[in-house]
Amino acid sequence: MNPTGVLGGGWEFVTAAYVLSLVVLGSYALSVVWRFRAEIRRAERQRRNPEVSK
């Protein structure tokens, strides 16, 4: 720590925190949207072919 008592620099930590947050939230959002749309596709397929049980 800086002897004058003020923390100098540290931008690499700030960048790391923001990038991490972006990556985590972004990936989770993509995951939810992708799974949601996959489920809609599956439900559509099932509606069109009612004799298929899966």
């Binding site: 923390l7 700030v14 923001y18 991490l20 947050s21 939230l25 959002a29 939810v32 439900a43």
Partner: protein, 230 residues
């Protein structure tokens, strides 16, 4: 159980977009417009994303808890779907929170983890809810899955204040440190903007995730289709 068409996914997407925009604006202000802080220099800017994540993580877990209680009382599976969505969102935010807290701790206190009561409680909650999600994955009967995970969430949530106080008493014997929230941010605008940003993003994600869970439940609990004569 018919999947409700009132749960419009468009609303979910819209919430997410608004949330993302607010986050972008808030982060920009927090990173480039807000001035340096008197003692922390520029490292304090982490707070602009750390504190909003903390508020929303707790909110997500509280939503999961409320849904669990509602399910046990009402028996309506839409609450089980919301419970699942809230728990998953909470796990993501809590995990992120612990990483952010670690990134904050290194330049401020020189260690990657300092047993701060709030952060330690978050870590415990993270593991507790990961366990609950694992429980959901390993129980195949939807009724049992919904009931048991609801019971587990209630117990885990009730435990949170006890965990917090026990860690705080335990830690206070060793060190007194300023926690992230006692450092005052020169601007509160980026803090509030980001808080609403994550809130809207979370609301949108939970809406979509709930819809996903309901569709899966409908599939699981649908009566078997009649055989077609070949």
């Amino acid at each position: 159980m018919a999947v409700s068409d009132r749960l419009n996914p468009g609303a979910g997407y819209a919430l997410m977009v608004v949330g993302a925009l607010l986050l972008a604006v808030g982060s920009y202000i927090g990173l480039f417009v807000a001035p340096s802080e008197s003692y922390m220099g520029d490292v304090y800017r982490i707070l602009y994303v750390h504190v909003p994540t903390a508020w929303n993580a707790l909110l997500a877990f509280t939503f999961a808890f409320g849904s669990a209680v509602a399910f046990l009382i009402r028996g309506d599976f839409k609450w089980d779907a919301r419970h699942e969505a809230g728990a998953e969102m909470g796990v993501v935010l809590a995990g992120l929170l612990c990483c952010q807290g670690s990134i904050w701790a290194k330049p401020t206190w020189g260690v990657w983890w300092d047993w701060d009561p709030r952060l330690t409680t978050t870590a415990v909650m993270f593991f507790a809810f990961v366990g609950i999600l694992a429980l959901r994955r390993f129980v195949e009967d939807p009724v049992k899955r919904a009931t048991w995970s609801a019971v587990a969430t209630i117990i885990a949530y009730v435990d949170v204040p006890i965990v917090y106080f026990s860690v705080r008493w335990w830690n206070s014997l060793h060190q007194m440190q300023s926690s992230p929230e006692t450092v005052s941010a020169p601007f509160l605008i980026p803090l509030r903007t980001n808080a609403f940003g994550i809130l809207f993003l979370m609301a949108g994600l939970i809406t979509l995730r709930t819809r996903l869970a309901r569709m899966r439940l409908a599939q699981e609990m649908a009566p078997p289709l009649p055989e077609v004569a070949s």
